[in-house]
Each structure stands twice: as structure tokens, then as C-alpha cells.
Amino acid sequence: MQTLNLQVNGETHELSVDVRTTLLDALRQHLHLNGTKKGCDHGQCGACTVLVNGKRINSCLTLAVMHDGDEITTIEGLGGSDTLSPMQKAFVKHDGFQCGYCTPGQICSATAMLDEIKEGWPSYVSVSLVGEPELTSDEIAERMSGNLCRCSAYPNIVDAIIEVGDKS
């Protein structure tokens, strides 16, 4: 067992965990933040996406003890059921989900992804490697391809992100 401090959604939590515990399991089992989902436990589906110090990562691929002192934002930190963020609202409006299981990961990923575009990160489909990439559906689809959705809400997810991206 090891103790550590996690800053989750602005709150500090002191935890004592089995060193084998992933960040994902620490969030779900120890902090009862069940919004972050386990779909594969191998970094293949993206359902467990959270923001660590503002960047999106798969929380199943990292151990909790590696994040002592890190600032972590989960879906619960982006907005509650009656305080939805613009991205969460857009997902509802555009039906960017069906069963809802991959959805928190999609929304965390989309939120961080828009920041990556603003910072000028190029992608596989970007026309140019420099400058801010254009917010096309291809650009979004490529950057969201680490988040699987078997209900296949992809077209609606892209529409939701374009709406939020255009407004910001």
C-alpha cells in the first residue's frame, strides 16, 4: 500500500492504495467517481479518458501512484447533471451517444482536443504542420479516433464538437 495526494476536480484527496491500482480504478473504486468508465483496461477504447494537468490521457494505462500531486479533471469536474458544460449540452442536443458508456470519455477527450487544436497541434489529416488547424469534420474525426463508440454515434459526436468549437 502507498499513500498519495490526488487533486481531483479541485479537491485534494489523500489515498492509500495497492500499488497495482490504476488511476482509473483509484477514481472509481476509491473516490467513487464512476463517471470515468472501464471499457477495455488496455488503452484501446478511450472510455477512461480524463485530463491530467489539462492533457487527455487513458487513465487505465497509468498507475495511481504515478500521479501524486497531479491535477486531475474527470467528467464530474466538467459539469454535473444540472450544470452541464457547453460540450455536455452539445452532446445531448446532437445525440452524440446512445448507451452512454463511452460518453464521459468522449466528452473529456473532445474538451481537451479543442485546446490541442487552439495550440496548433497538427494531426494526421492536417493540411499544414504549422498554424492552427481548421476545425473540419475530418480533423475532429481523426483526433477523436482514440475514443471508440460501438453504438456508433460518430457523426453526431462530430456535429456536437463542431458546434462547440465554432462558438469558442
Binding site: 452532446f91 446512445q98 458508456y101 474525426a141 460501438r150 453504438c151 459526436i157
Partner: protein
């Protein structure tokens, strides 16, 4: 109410609230996007222990012994369960009884043989990985259904013959005689199977992820050897099903046995690898088509003989020819099914069992017939739409098949297709168009719901229906709101609990029409109760925004109720309309693909689906279901394939990194056109199923487009690069 007569009243059309059919947001959407909808693993059950299933590392044979002591000595390990009640594989959909049980006799690699329970998930996983077993492996393993020594069965009830197909083939002006193969598929719902079992005395509560609770309750009770009354199953939210959660599955029974033994709650979750190995696969298929047509392209003969597989003692056989029976005409017909008994993961329902693969291969064969006859593929379909069911003397219920084909062709720009393959090139990409018909049988199932009109004018809908992402919460709320004249936010729909009236469950595309009809019938009863208070006929009563309007006078609903709550139960049952008309849903798929002239890579550039499925209850959720089906089709066409080791049958690509479901960039912005219609025979709400129609034939449109683009005729799915490359210059 038994559905013995068409319901031509179309009562939903008379209502005034204006909710039905509208593209309304999902009522539970705010919970799902904020991560606060509760899935199976997330119930805060106190003092849980964690269980991890142990898999058989061999394909066939007997477990001789398990070294429990070594694992029990590990830190935090509480129990090792190898009870003979453990499930060999999940129950098939609507089984209503235990599937094959037993942890000692192994018939496929990956079969659950034990459960290790520990204080923590990490501890249980370590224990499960450390468990030492002794076994006697039987080397006579059957993996390939087409092997010369494969044991096969031909169930009589699955063979159909009419006229003489062989003679029709001899006399035909144009024929197709080809074999198509589809590989196994996995549902790959995003939420892995999970169950938390908790006993209070002899009462079991199971928080699980299942599609059909009334059946699941009986299956679980039967597996445990207890009465159904002792079992309550709760599945408020289900993270995708697609058939994989139709029946009670190994985790539920293992959790219940362990919880009883340890006298504390036990949570068992399958790993993604276990979902692949120990749940259900869609069977691989070998489909032999013989099509015979006269000089005008009209079918005179049609033969569709398929080979599928399953474990020994499983009754399910992928019903490959299900829609071949009625989609096209042709006097001489033969539809057959053979089942090989193999040592591979159980075969069961995966989205649209039968049509998903059967219509797809049929539509490939039709594309080949169109070419052989020199007729446009669209025209060939239009020519062969039968007037009545071609095998039984019955009419179709509603069927906008012809309209779907024509409207789709126009919207897609089908007339721009070049009939000769390989004519359109943009840089290094070869561009082509393909189309396919869509069809899926329509089924109504018994379903019961209770609706309460509370004294404050709000409404509660209760049924053990599930919402697996299909939109049940939303459409049941819409139906109750529409019938009782209250806005959406005044209706509370409670689902996913066997303590509520028993519903049809979600599967076979029957959920919305069946459970929706039960809610509709309960609401009709409540309207009658209000009519008695107002001394009027239901037809003269308008309910809107909490007002009851009759004879030009408006009564406030709350005042009318006068402090009283009204309740009614609605029960729908299938009846004679299931037999005396042919009920199915229809549509058309159009796809444009780009095939890389150098690498053989295929990208879907555009795709349109046009679908008719009775009354559309919610335009937004229905459209999403269609997208989902079409995208499953893209996966089937291009990437999805369960790969089995030929020596022991183990699934080599048993995770989401190796079994390739479509990702966002694999999918273009799709178009869907919904043709609204009323099917009076299907249900009293005139709705049919739409959840599976989108996948039926979708992959064929893509693969036919590959042929049009490149001249590569792929008859073995998926159309991976290696199968296209030999056709490229």
C-alpha cells in the same frame, strides 16, 4: 390486448400534445453526459468483495483438479469457486432457463472454470492468474466448419424448398452461382459484462447489465436452483448490448454463488478479453447462392444454402436465410441451413442475427446478377419486389421498399454511377458506388407496463424494460405524455428492475413497439377512466398540457382527479397478425467508396440509408439507431473478423486493439432518410422495429462499391487490402 386485427384507429395520430415522432433529446441524456447514470459496476453496495473468472487454457477435455490452497493462501484471497452451477456460456436470447452448466467439462478455450474472490480487484486478478489447474486435454478439437470431418446437422425445420431451383438454373437466361463467406463477429458493447450479487437471507438482488430482465430472472434462478421469486435483477442503464447481454451470463451466476458462500456482496466483471471469449460471437457463415433470372432480369429461381456453427448442445443457429424467404420473388426457391458443431466460443445473437450477414451476401449476389444481366443494380431490385410473400399466400403489412430504393437513388445521385468498374479515378484513388436493399423481420412480443396518473397531474410509467442505448426511456415517456396530454418533464419513466411489470426486453428490434404498445394500452385505459369522470367518449376527449378538453370545455386535470391517483396496466401480446400478414421492415443502402489504387485501402466517402419501419416514435433516436447499424456495416465490410487459431480455436484478436470496430475517422458524415409510415398490423402504435434494420445489407453496399471502384469482387468478408490488391494494376 392480443394483436389479432390491424388497429386502424391510429389513436396516436389523434392526440394533441405533439410529442410523438419529434426529434426530442433523450430524457436521461443529462445523466449520461455527466457520468451520473448508474451502470452495473457502479452500485454502491456496501462491503463488496471482487471476483475474477478463470478461463480454460485448452479447447476440449476435463478439469482434473484445481490447486485452491495455494491461491487461498495469497494475501486478500477469500474464496475459489468451481461450483458445477457455473455457466459454460451465456443463455441464448429468450431462453428463459439455464444454459449448459458445469465447470469441469471444457468444450472451448476461454470457458470459465473457476472464480477467485478477494478483498480487492487487484488481489482477485492476481489470484485468478496464479490458479494452477490439472486437466486432461482431448486432442480431437473441431475448429473449421468446412473441414471434411466436421460434424454437421441439418435441422428439418430449417430447410425450405419450393419448385425446382436446379431446373430454373438450367433454363435461366442469366445465373449467379457463387459462395460467399462472412467471419465471426463480436458485439463489442463498450460496457463489459458485470454483476454485483447481494443476498439477504434467501433473497438475491443482482445488479447486472442485461437486455431482457424477465427472461434473465428465470435463467438466473434456474441456474442457481432457486425460485424466480427469490431473484431481483436491476439494470437501470446498460452500456450497449447488440445481443451480447440477451441472456444471463457466467459473471451473474458466479457472483451469486460466491456471494452466498461468503455471506457478502460480490462483484464480478469480465475483462474485455473475457467478453470476447466467454460471451457470444456471431457465427461465421458459408453461403452458397444460386440465382436464376429470365431475359428481363426477373428471378425465376433462388437458392440460399448456408453453413454456420455452434458449440455442442446449443439450439441457436444463425438464421442466415431469414429475409431471403420474402425479400425477392422467384417461383423456385430453396433455403437451407446446416450447423457444424465446433469447439469455439458460443455462437449467439449479434445485432440482426440472420439478416446482418444473410441479406448482405444476398445483396452481393444480386449485384453480380445485375452485371450478368446487364441491368442497373437498382433496376434489378425494383424488378424483383414481389407483390405478395413469395412462399406463403399472405400480403405484406406496410412496406415502402420500392420508395426507399427510388428515393435513395435520387438523393444519392445514383444516376452518376459508371456501370463499368474502374472508370473513375481521383489521384491515387479509385471511386465507385454500390447499393443494397435492407430488410429485417418484424416481431411483436408480450409486454406489460403500469402507468399511474398521479393526483398532481404527473405521470409515472413502470415496466422492467431496458434501455440499452436504444431510447426506451425517451420513447416511453413520449407515448405516455402524448396519450395523457402532459409535457415530457411531467412524466417519470422507471425501467430496468424485475420488481416492475414484465416487459419484452430489448432485442430482435421488438423493444420499442412491444413495450411502447403496453404503455399505450395502459394510457388508453386511463383515458377511459377520465372519460367516466367526464361522461364522454374517449374519441371526444382531448388531453393537452394538463387540461382535459371535452365538448369545448376545458377542465384542469388536477381538479378533475380531485386528489385521486389513477392506475392502469397495459398488456400487449402477439396475435394473428403475426401469422396472417408478412411483417418486415425495409430500406436501401447507397455507398460511395475510394479504393487506393496502390495499397488497396478502402475509405467510405459517403453513405446513405433510407428506411421504413412503421411509425417513427422519435426522429432523433431512430436516426441514431440507423447510423449505428450502418456503421456496424462499415466494420463488417472492411475490418471486423474474429480470428481463431486453427489448432485450438482460441480467439487470437480478443481485444479492441486487434478486433477492429470502426473508429470515428472510418466513418464519413452519414445520411439517413426515414420514411414515416403506419403499420396497422404491427402494433397498436403502428410502429415496427428499427434497431437492426440499418446493419442489414449495409456492408454489401460498401463491398459492391469496391467492385464498382476497382473491379475487385470480394466474396470473403471483410474486404481487407490483401483481397483487393490482386485486382489492382
Amino acid at each position: 390486448m392480443s394483436m389479432d386485427e390491424p388497429d386502424t384507429r391510429r389513436r396516436l395520430d389523434d392526440m394533441a400534445q405533439g410529442l410523438i415522432g419529434k426529434p426530442l433529446d433523450r430524457t436521461e441524456g443529462h445523466l449520461k453526459v455527466s457520468g451520473t447514470a448508474t451502470y452495473a459496476h457502479e452500485w454502491a453496495v456496501a462491503d463488496q468483495a471482487y471476483g475474477v473468472l478463470v478461463r480454460a487454457p485448452f479447447a476440449k477435455g476435463k478439469i482434473l483438479s484445481i490447486d485452491k490452497a495455494a491461491v487461498l493462501a495469497m494475501d486478500g484471497v477469500l474464496a475459489v469457486i468451481d461450483d458445477d452451477r457455473l455457466l459454460r456460456n451465456p443463455a441464448q436470447g429468450t431462453a428463459n432457463e439455464a444454459p449448459v452448466q458445469g465447470a469441469k467439462d471444457v468444450v472451448y478455450l476461454g470457458q470459465p472454470i473457476a472464480l477467485v474472490v478477494a478483498e480487492s480487484f487487484e488481489g482477485a486478478r492476481h489470484g485468478a492468474q496464479s490458479l494452477s489447474i490439472e486437466y486432461d486435454a482431448d486432442e480431437s478439437v473441431a475448429i473449421d466448419p468446412e473441414a471434411s470431418d466436421a460434424q454437421t446437422e441439418k435441422p428439418d425445420e430449417k430447410q425450405f424448398s419450393q419448385g425446382d431451383v436446379d431446373q430454373a438454373m438450367q433454363e435461366a437466361a442469366f445465373t449467379v452461382d457463387q459462395v460467399y463467406r462472412t467471419p465471426g463477429h463480436n458485439s463489442a458493447a463498450m460496457e463489459p459484462h458485470c454483476a454485483i450479487a447481494q443476498w439477504e437471507e434467501n433473497q438475491l438482488t443482482l445488479y447486472g447489465s442485461y437486455q431482457m430482465l424477465k427472461y434473465n430472472r428465470n435463467e438466473l434462478a434456474d441456474s442457481l436452483g432457486i425460485d424466480a421469486e427469490q431473484v431481483r435483477i436491476i439494470s437501470r442503464y446498460v452500456g450497449g448490448g447488440f445481443g451480447s447481454k440477451l441472456g444471463i451470463a457466467p459473471e451473474a451466476v458466479a457472483a451469486a454463488i460466491a456471494a452466498k458462500e461468503l455471506q457478502r456482496a460480490v462483484c464480478v466483471t469480465l475483462s474485455r478479453q473475457q467478453v470476447f471469449e466467454a460471451v457470444m460471437r456471431r457465427s461465421e457463415t458459408r453461403q452458397h447462392f444460386q440465382l436464376a433470372a429470365d431475359k428481363d432480369g426477373v428471378l425465376t429461381g433462388l437458392s440460399h444454402v448456408s453453413l454456420v456453427s455452434n458449440l455442442p448442445d446449443e439450439t441457436f443457429a444463425e438464421p442466415v436465410g431469414q429475409a431471403t424467404h420474402f425479400i425477392y420473388g422467384g417461383e423456385n426457391r430453396r433455403i437451407g441451413l446446416e450447423v457444424a458443431r465446433l469447439n469455439k466460443t458460443c455462437a449467439g445473437s449479434v445485432r440482426a442475427p440472420g439478416e446482418a450477414v444473410g441479406v448482405t451476401a444476398l445483396e452481393n449476389a444480386m449485384d453480380e446478377l445485375a452485371e450478368a444481366a446487364g441491368i442497373d443494380p437498382l433496376e434489378l431490385r425494383l424488378l424483383n419486389i414481389p407483390e405478395k410473400d413469395p412462399e406463403q399466400d399472405v400480403s405484406f403489412s406496410s412496406r415502402k421498399f420500392r420508395q426507399a430504393l427510388k428515393q435513395g437513388a435520387e438523393a444519392f445521385g445514383w444516376e452518376k454511377r459508371q456501370p463499368v468498374p474502374g472508370q473513375v479515378r481521383e489521384g491515387e484513388w479509385l471511386i465507385g458506388m454500390g447499393m443494397a436493399s435492407a430488410a429485417r423481420v418484424n416481431v411483436l412480443m408480450q409486454s406489460e407496463a403500469k402507468v399511474t396518473l398521479s393526483a398532481d397531474g404527473s405521470v409515472i410509467v413502470e415496466t422492467d424494460m431496458t434501455d440499452i442505448g436504444t431510447g426506451s426511456y425517451t420513447i416511453l415517456t413520449q407515448i405516455a405524455g402524448e396519450m395523457l396530454g402532459v409535457p415530457m418533464n411531467r412524466v417519470e419513466t422507471r425501467l430496468g428492475d424485475t420488481d416492475l411489470p414484465s416487459a419484452s426486453g430489448s432485442g430482435g428490434s421488438w423493444g420499442a413497439s412491444s413495450s411502447g404498445s403496453s404503455v399505450f394500452l395502459a394510457c388508453e385505459d386511463l383515458r377511459e377512466q377520465l372519460c367516466r369522470k367526464l361522461d364522454c367518449q374517449s374519441a371526444d376527449l382531448t388531453l393537452k398540457d394538463g387540461q382535459a378538453i371535452v365538448r369545448n370545455r376545458s377542465h384542469d386535470l388536477v381538479e378533475l382527479l380531485g386528489g385521486e391517483s389513477l392506475q392502469a396496466v397495459g398488456i400487449i401480446e402477439p396475435g394473428e397478425t403475426s401469422e396472417n400478414v408478412r411483417q418486415a421492415t425495409f430500406g436501401a443502402h447507397f455507398a460511395e467508396v475510394a479504393v487506393n489504387a496502390t495499397t488497396g485501402e478502402t475509405r467510405v466517402q459517403r453513405m446513405l440509408g433510407v428506411f421504413s419501419a412503421g411509425r417513427i416514435l422519435n426522429e432523433k433516436t431512430a436516426r441514431s439507431q440507423c447510423y449505428g447499424g450502418m456503421i456496424f456495416g462499415i466494420g463488417m465490410a472492411l475490418t471486423e473478423e474474429l480470428l481463431h487459431d486453427p489448432r485450438d480455436g482460441h480467439i487470437v484478436n480478443r481485444d479492441l486493439g486487434e478486433y477492429h470496430v470502426p473508429v470515428n475517422l472510418d466513418v464519413p458524415q452519414l445520411d439517413v432518410i426515414l420514411l414515416d409510415e403506419r403499420d396497422d398490423h404491427a402494433s397498436p402504435i403502428q410502429a415496427k422495429g428499427i434497431g437492426e434494420l440499418g446493419i442489414c445489407g449495409a456492408a454489401a453496399a460498401v463491398v459492391n462499391a469496391i467492385y464498382n471502384a476497382s473491379g475487385a469482387r470480394v466474396r470473403e468478408y471483410p474486404a481487407t487490402l490483401d483481397k483487393i490488391l490482386p485486382y489492382l494494376d
